[in-house]
Symmetry: C2
Subunit: 374 residues, 2 copies
């Protein structure tokens, strides 16, 4: 075998968005490279940003079949402007996945992975095969199958990265939005195990019940009338000064900063026109809400808001912290870091229009796993 | 003399805002305290937040005369909510000023200041006298009069604090908004002396000409059609990744982050849906624009935005850095750190309705100095 099929995404300046398979040459393996036969890869929200986010899904049309399928759609209003730096590029997709190493370069490290199950991260995982450097591979424990290991990077390392950030920056509790997501449920399990106070913000009573059934101790519904009061009370109770926001748009981030400040203000003994001196941090790690972020600032001057990206965090944290995190993921892969898939599809089904519309919805708790057919 | 007149500000829950003098007892001096006869105090934008910001200035009315004057107005729409934590409080005013030490406590440090001119910071400076701890006093050089020393804290330490922040956080250039202000002109003089690239953002061609006449090398008019292009070009030329924004509302802060990112994107060799990894920092140090802050984020994930307050910065920088900064202010008080006053008024004139309307305007380049009559 000298070629493989990779799922690619393209958006043109003329406003057509498409998904299709590229048949790409497999290169000679370098000493530190391995060839993975991909067996399972999840569809994460961060994958959809590349796959379906630019598409008006009501206008999907399809040509060809199997690996020759090309599915295309009109771009959503604003998408050409929003995604202007990718126009015309044919981009491989799939952030993470797992499979079996079926060929290895000459180095000892590469040879040690031969015939082993590994997970990998770094793009182009919606494919039959992928060439990876040994440093990009995480060997899975004996007996673990590819489905168990497929999601061992994005969600586990992000959730652990949040708790590491909390410690590195001197906070003692975490506020999390979109908290009923797969990632949010995972963060809840970590916080319960590590005794970290976690304030979960969700959008419905069903999601409140779901998280409570998993032992979450503080779940707040942002659509309830008493939201700001409840959130301020919770910030006060847990001395919460750090939040991770998956929405990244609208006014929720601002409301969280204001609630933190409201809690701090309860303990001020005299008026200060600059607000409290309790430092408050909001990190934006997703863009579920693509409307502009509005900050109606009543949080004083001791606050910061910024982007949080796993790769930037890992660079800052360093190799030792990263390896400690990975060790924990591997050893708790079927408990703390277990992912639950609501459907399994084949690589070719990723370009089936009905299935695309389903996985593009990103409904809370729904998660698709792609299994490759070779 | 056992009492002094202090200018106070009050806002009630019923929506009346007023300025009036309180006659307050002067306490016995502690060992490390001195009594300053206040001779000059500037009206800074940060003072107006307490003095006139809550007032509908078209509704001013006045009673009494001299130190018995009470001037009051209806609160501006939204002011009662915005200032809710100060409702009903009688607040002393005046962030900084200078005068002569006319009595001193028993310690050597206090006695050393007796009969000296000092500047002081920390509130209640719109008064005939003020008791201060020796640590709050900065002795002025021989021959320096109170007017020269009156503004030796807020603007000089803020402008120097910006350049210190730049070095502490590893940036190499500064973007500044409202750059034609007294503070902005001072920052320009510091940056010219220290060879720090400074990008000045102003709102009119008159302000462009003013700063250029003072040697500013990069002045951009935010009301020009080519603003984003010019700003992006400037960010690229100077590798600018740090901005200080005095407006704190509207979309200017977002535009600056986007321009920084646009400059970084010019040097990216491949598409990254998370944007560049060049870290971009925006600090908000004022609220000239009280509308909500809108972030139309095209700055990727490597950015941070937050409040910047001189007192928080000094705590973080430590006593040694603060003393080095103060030393420089004192030695360049009549050059780099000179303030220019467009009018001088007496303490009682601060409650004259016509004068209030004039100083409340905060026109760029206008600055009032209050001189106390005892």
């Amino acid at each position: 075998m000298t070629t493989t099929h990779q799922l690619h995404s393209k958006l043109t300046a003329e406003g057509r968005a498409s998904l299709y398979f590229e048949q790409v040459e497999l290169p000679e393996l370098g000493a530190d490279q391995v060839l993975i036969q991909v067996e399972a890869a999840p569809i994460n929200p961060s994958d959809l940003a590349l796959l379906t986010a630019p598409m008006d899904l009501s206008s999907l049309s399809t040509e060809g079949g199997g690996f020759d399928t090309v599915v295309s759609a009109s771009a959503k209003p604003g998408a050409v402007e929003f995604f202007k730096s990718r126009l015309g590029l044919s981009l491989p997709t799939g952030n993470e996945g797992a499979g079996t190493v079926i060929a290895a370069g000459s180095s000892d490290a590469a040879q040690a992975l031969l015939n082993k199950k590994v997970s990998a991260f770094g793009g182009a995982m919606y494919a039959q095969h992928r060439v990876a450097n040994v440093m990009e591979c995480l060997p899975l424990p004996e007996g673990c199958d590819a489905a168990d290991g497929a999601s061992s990077f994005v969600n586990p390392m992000t959730a652990l990265g949040m708790t590491e950030t909390m410690r590195m920056e001197g906070h003692s509790a975490i506020i999390h939005t979109a908290a009923a997501s797969n990632l949010g449920q995972m963060l809840n399990r970590i916080c319960l195990a590590d005794e970290i106070p976690l304030i979960c913000i969700v959008r419905s009573e069903e999601q409140v019940a779901l998280l409570q059934s998993q032992g979450a101790q503080c779940v707040i519904n942002s659509s309830s009338a008493g939201f700001m009061q409840e959130l301020t009370d919770a910030c006060d109770r847990y001395n919460a000064t750090l939040a991770f926001d998956a929405t990244g748009g609208g006014s929720l981030g601002s409301a969280i900063l204001n609630a933190m400040e409201g809690a701090a203000a309860r303990h001020m003994t005299e008026y200060n026109r600059y607000g409290s001196d309790r430092f408050k941090q909001l990190y934006i790690y997703g863009r579920l809400n693509t409307s502009p972020l509005t900050i109606n600032n009543a949080a004083g001057f001791a606050w910061s808001m910024g982007g949080w990206l796993l790769t930037h965090f890992l660079q800052r944290a360093g190799v030792e912290v990263m390896m400690r995190m990975q060790q924990r993921v591997v050893s708790e892969l079927e408990t703390t870091f277990a992912s639950h898939y609501t459907a399994t599809i084949s690589l070719e089904q990723m370009v089936d229009v009905d299935i695309m519309r389903a996985y593009a919805k990103m409904e809370t708790g729904q998660k698709y796993l792609v299994t490759s057919s070779v």
